[in-house]
């Protein structure tokens, strides 16, 4: 299960709304081993694409250096889908590289970019296997 502070979930959704129709992406870091998402870090989608996202390679290096220095890890890795459901795509599954992370997917396909409903779902992706988990807003 993912427990995430309501304000952070709201920030993720706001980021997805802002970047629509391109995919938005980012991380919520937390103390290593705590499973507590605490520090919201929106990232630039270097692909600037409605169907793909990728962290810029220099941003990625800085992110991991910062997390290392703070003894943090990526508790949540999030991105948005802008035309499909909030479920990991084949590409999402093949590139997922954080076995301990909660992969959060948000979909803005149903008008969430204006004021429509938002799908907010969380998954574990380990060795190519996807399992959805409940989300609790704290």
């Amino acid at each position: 299960m993912l427990r995430i502070p309501r304000e952070i979930a709201d920030e993720i959704v706001a980021h997805a709304r802002r970047d629509h129709p391109d995919e938005a992406c980012g991380v919520v870091a937390g103390p290593a081993g705590s499973d507590r998402p605490e520090r919201f870090i929106p990232m630039v989608n270097a692909a600037r694409s409605p169907t793909f996202y990728e962290f810029d390679s220099m941003d990625l290096l800085r992110l991991y250096r910062d997390m290392d220095a703070n003894d943090e890890e990526p508790v949540v890795v999030y991105h948005s889908h802008t035309a499909t459901e909030a479920y990991p795509s084949r590409t999402d599954i093949s590139y997922a590289s954080e076995p301990h992370a909660h992969y959060v997917l948000v979909s803005t396909r149903d008008g969430a970019h204006v004021s429509g409903p938002v799908e907010f779902r969380s998954f574990r992706i380990v060795d190519g296997q996807v399992s959805e988990e409940p989300v609790e807003f704290a």
């Binding site: 991380v27 169907t51 793909f52 962290f55 990625l60 590139y95 590289s97």
Partner: protein, 90 residues
């Protein structure tokens, strides 16, 4: 000469869980060959044929080797090599 290599979580299965290992070699390709002798399986996760895998980033000190000489990037004693899988998807 010795180079320090930072290993990402997902590849620590090849390094007995260590987040940092040491290696040596005049360039990145030679370093990876050297690492493979002690950490079997690591090389295949970084290299595909004769090139770096598209979704693996390798940095020498603070530079992405894609903007240097890729696998031919020269290494010096005391350099730090960081391996980070891309965070990407569709």
């Amino acid at each position: 000469m010795t180079v320090t290599v930072a290993i990402p979580t997902v590849l620590r299965q090849y390094t007995d869980g260590q987040k940092q290992v040491s290696g040596s070699g005049p360039d990145l390709a030679a370093l990876i060959t050297d690492l493979e002798t002690r950490h079997t399986g690591l090389s295949d996760r970084i290299i595909d044929g004769n090139a770096l895998r598209r979704f693996v980033n390798v940095y020498v000190n603070d530079e992405d080797v894609r903007f240097l000489d890729g696998l031919g990037t020269p290494l010096q004693d005391g350099d730090t090599v960081t391996i980070l899988p891309a965070v990407a998807g569709g």
